[in-house]
Symmetry: D2
Amino acid sequence: MRYKPSDHPVFTLTTGPVDAYPAVLRGLASTVLYDYDPAFQATYQRVAEKLATIVKSETMPVVLHGEPVLALEAAAASLIGRDDVVLNLVSGVYSKGFEGWAARSGAKVIELAVPYDKVIDPADVARALAAHPEVTVVAACHHDTPSGTINPVADIGREVARHGAVFLVDAVSSFGGMAVDAASAHVDLFVTGPNKCLGCPPGLSILGVSNKAWAKMKANPNAPRASILSILDWEEAWRHDKPFPFTPSVAEINGLEAAIDLYLAEGPERVWARHDLTARACRAGIAAMGLAIWPAEERFASPTATAVKIPAGIDEAALRAEIRARYGVVLSSGRGETLGKLTRIGHMGPTAQPLYAIVALTALGGALSALGHKVDVGAGVAAALAVIDAA
Amino acid sequence: MRYKPSDHPVFTLTTGPVDAYPAVLRGLASTVLYDYDPAFQATYQRVAEKLATIVKSETMPVVLHGEPVLALEAAAASLIGRDDVVLNLVSGVYSKGFEGWAARSGAKVIELAVPYDKVIDPADVARALAAHPEVTVVAACHHDTPSGTINPVADIGREVARHGAVFLVDAVSSFGGMAVDAASAHVDLFVTGPNKCLGCPPGLSILGVSNKAWAKMKANPNAPRASILSILDWEEAWRHDKPFPFTPSVAEINGLEAAIDLYLAEGPERVWARHDLTARACRAGIAAMGLAIWPAEERFASPTATAVKIPAGIDEAALRAEIRARYGVVLSSGRGETLGKLTRIGHMGPTAQPLYAIVALTALGGALSALGHKVDVGAGVAAALAVIDAA
Amino acid sequence: MRYKPSDHPVFTLTTGPVDAYPAVLRGLASTVLYDYDPAFQATYQRVAEKLATIVKSETMPVVLHGEPVLALEAAAASLIGRDDVVLNLVSGVYSKGFEGWAARSGAKVIELAVPYDKVIDPADVARALAAHPEVTVVAACHHDTPSGTINPVADIGREVARHGAVFLVDAVSSFGGMAVDAASAHVDLFVTGPNKCLGCPPGLSILGVSNKAWAKMKANPNAPRASILSILDWEEAWRHDKPFPFTPSVAEINGLEAAIDLYLAEGPERVWARHDLTARACRAGIAAMGLAIWPAEERFASPTATAVKIPAGIDEAALRAEIRARYGVVLSSGRGETLGKLTRIGHMGPTAQPLYAIVALTALGGALSALGHKVDVGAGVAAALAVIDAA
Amino acid sequence: MRYKPSDHPVFTLTTGPVDAYPAVLRGLASTVLYDYDPAFQATYQRVAEKLATIVKSETMPVVLHGEPVLALEAAAASLIGRDDVVLNLVSGVYSKGFEGWAARSGAKVIELAVPYDKVIDPADVARALAAHPEVTVVAACHHDTPSGTINPVADIGREVARHGAVFLVDAVSSFGGMAVDAASAHVDLFVTGPNKCLGCPPGLSILGVSNKAWAKMKANPNAPRASILSILDWEEAWRHDKPFPFTPSVAEINGLEAAIDLYLAEGPERVWARHDLTARACRAGIAAMGLAIWPAEERFASPTATAVKIPAGIDEAALRAEIRARYGVVLSSGRGETLGKLTRIGHMGPTAQPLYAIVALTALGGALSALGHKVDVGAGVAAALAVIDAA
């Protein structure tokens, strides 16, 4: 029995877009209100207030009405001026990619890079900042998703704060799936989105902004205004009595509220714990099948996505196609430099449940075996189960 | 009995966001697939192909993943280069507003303006183009929504084509509610969205692009690339075997497909007819209540929104608040220069049904009377009904 | 413009099935849990407990898993034994129809009847009970829907209680739309359903049972057991730790919970007020159009449905067909003896909002005029609006 | 990490209620139309016509508006008269349970029974019919769900047809998941429901009726009329121009249409194949873990549910509780005589996908091990995967 490409898959275990929570889908289906209707304005403020409790930024979080690449581009354009010197911490394809947006603003960009299977060492950041007192902005990617690695942003943030620079962090695919927020990581511009670990569809992004970041954006003459790229235009938009710069995505906001409600009802610690356990079980299974994760050390590995190195002789695209055709399971490829070298299993939102690790391991192992790289799926499952049972 | 601001309204008769069709809401609630899953890639291409049948642009329509102000800003940034001379046809707040985006690209902008209760005369366009042979781009707003007026874009398009300029049209709030498409109006960059007459929530925009417009955008060194503002990046994205520049809004695409399916199943002509009839009934009722529409002549009035002049002595915001509190009906205000001067009744998508004109007239008339401007609601309803019955 | 029979109607203003609340529809779309899953068992108990707060029966309400005709048949079969003498209060088609179920149980049925445009006089009930001391069960229909009339069940209940009989009331289409519950009306077996004024789809029924009614059902050797008609089997089923006699309708229970939540959030008094106001506005409009309501006196008229007498020369079926074809509005016919003599406008749940009375009056008046019975729709709307504005 | 009873489960792998297909849930959320609205009447007839293509009864299938126990009780009450002699084929709890309904109609019931882990031998049926020429009705349960066994109804049906009796079959939990229909099994009264392998929630039942069965029901003076138990009342109700005996469950009908559309789009053979493969994989895993299925021979085992014998020393209720608490997986218990002796894994509708067998095996094996009965989960998964990969 094969699943055709046109068949709906059975399991979407990707790094995003992820399968949304059913309650989020029902939220999306709520009656669409006029954005200036007081009932919607109250909803919008309420969503912002709920976000504030989880993003923990100094000021009310800003929602931008496009998926998080909008927020990242907007953040670079708004925060980084022509006179800025940006220390860009490069640990993967996404952090490297940020350089393009940073450079576009006219700033000088200094790169501190590690191989894409490693993470940034806070001590190196301290050294780089000491060597470059002119640095005004430090940019990092918390979870460099194409590598499945997690940078120690809290420790890095401490160095940045000590230096006095503004700290911009892409926490798109980690926020909501592990313990990270704007406050604890000393982040001035915390960029994330609901379409990963919060279990929403793509379409919105979320920004946690410090007072310092607001001041810097306001002082930047090139910060976008009257533009989809403007963050400044939205500063007050969360208030029920303030106008929206343009029409917000009403349905996505309704979905977001459902997602936050689920997150708070379950309890963030509980949500993080199941992301972590799912990833640990997955990694144990990978190892037991004689495969390797992409991150150079297990402590670098993300709790929200597991990147698996592709064994020699296996074509990664063919592998994922086989996994889907044979089992109806969808996994994510690598991107850019990691494309072809790894396959990624997402543990995000509704799929961050330990038994999904079993599903992923079975599908991955079965397809590898079918393609000629024999692995012991039973051993993989047993190892994963041992981790789950020990929790 | 009063409706509190926090109560959900009973009727949302606005000019957008409009009440989405129930089938669209159910579409939004569809399982979220991975964007690179072949089943979603097939969906995306199928949606583009369906859009092509209704947008009627020379090339496959482009979907941008933000509400139509994104598309308008992107269109200006992509199409208009530093060497361009733009003839901007100003008939209202939205067409005037386009000047900002056009000017930002460095182009020279020539304005041909009429009072905001009138529409552009194609003969004036011909004269302006004759006087300004250097004009390379002409921009118009088909339905200048804050005025409820419809510009004769097909006739204007003929003049622009004759001149050889590129024609950019904002048809956001007219497309799908009346006979307008890229082909018949000779439009090179046709900007619209599903969140008005197609009955979707805000979150996407649609562009119909001519070969000439693609060539011009590609020749523009400043046309955005690697940006949320890029149109060029999306040229091939509709193909099931091509990558997306960034993650598309999966749920909104599912909603859009439901909307197009409804539109095609009902038949565009039938859909346009009910928009037109609803608006005509509404205008008849307005007149019979001794009120006036905002457009200087009835033939300027939009079939998708009726702008009603506010009688002397009435505060427009208080009027809408009274309409909502007293009847649970939500109408739209004016914007910019028309703010306070008119109230707008939307006839878009699911509310473009003649009996909604009765609801709107009753609520408007009742609230005006309550605020001291007595009108004969019965006469208004009777006049509207006569139009409906004559159809 | 005509609506075809296959077109979805624009307004469903019927006496049931009614348009469900959007939140109820989303509730129906909730993930279906296994009925013995503890999460569903907890839901089931929670729904019963919420019902208890609104049904106000002595014991926990029973939900039966079919629309209310199931509950009425089950109530007759369970409560009425071969030795019972039933006083059946007949004021319309539904109360008359109950006789069939009562007689089937072998009981003697005494009828106290009034013309179908009048309601039962409690004094007559007192007299009948005095004349028939052998009566053990009294049955009444609170809202005899095919007539749109409301019987004074609280006063009748007082007489029944004095006599010592068991009081069975069909409150299917009144409960949730006006002040009626098991306690205040001294009802022993209170039969209702969520598919009228609570705004759910048909599929469930609700029973409020007194201790006396439970005792009587248990003492009835013919009370159904191991049957879809059993009430007794469900006595304990509301408890999270007790089994279900058969599989409950999981989705409908989820929908019901959403409906109760809406009802409690809005506040029952507020909900009743808008039903009442909608009906009063409707009746004022009917009168102003020179038409008559079916009930002989306005004080008999239901706040949840308005029955309008058909003028001589008008074919009722043709009238409703014209209303639908011309305006997309769906109304209800009469039933049995009232079929052809009246058309009914429902004011139930989401359509119990005053402006829906305007919609109904316009459609009714417009179609009557079109069929040759000219009425002044403007006058009707104005009269209705005056009532709304006075509230 | 433990799942609390109040937590929503992660996987519902039960024998019903099953997890409904997402498209069915969206169908349930469709706008509720008035049952006599022509658009709904057309829907109802269309659903009946689609059902006819899959039920393959001689006459148009009847939908009853309650879950299948209603249809079974109604079938017994309608078909079986006081003069009938019923041969009841007992292979499990459900077929045994039918006796109660059959006996209630006053008929004589002859039992042909096998142990509850075996199935009926058609030769025994032939012998019983030869020995009892007075038999007029034969009743069988195709899938005796509490045992997970499948009776050979096609072969039995041939014997019944030869004898000239009427054949009544409960195919509730097999229809839609394997090759069975009224025609191929020579069934006169084919009872099923959409809430098992078609992936709907419980709330409806479906009857396929032969001409002979209609004639017999019509000739039965005790066949229910004017009752929720009536089948006869619904004979013509499928026609768009015929009345409903009482209000149909509109939302459930909308859900059913979505389910049939999915079933037809995927293709019944494909649907059956994935049920079969899932069950075979499951059984292979059970065996490889050293466990046993309940059916005495594998060829008796159902493709839609796998009943697993509980090892000595394990408490079945505690086992399922552990499976849910540890992994978030919900399985079904036995019922009646099989309660406590087996646990059932459903493969019905959306969960009839091979990888769900892996999920079930892992959860079952893991919990057994945790409770002290050590099994080799890895071996179980490997064996199941081998079956899947061989398909």
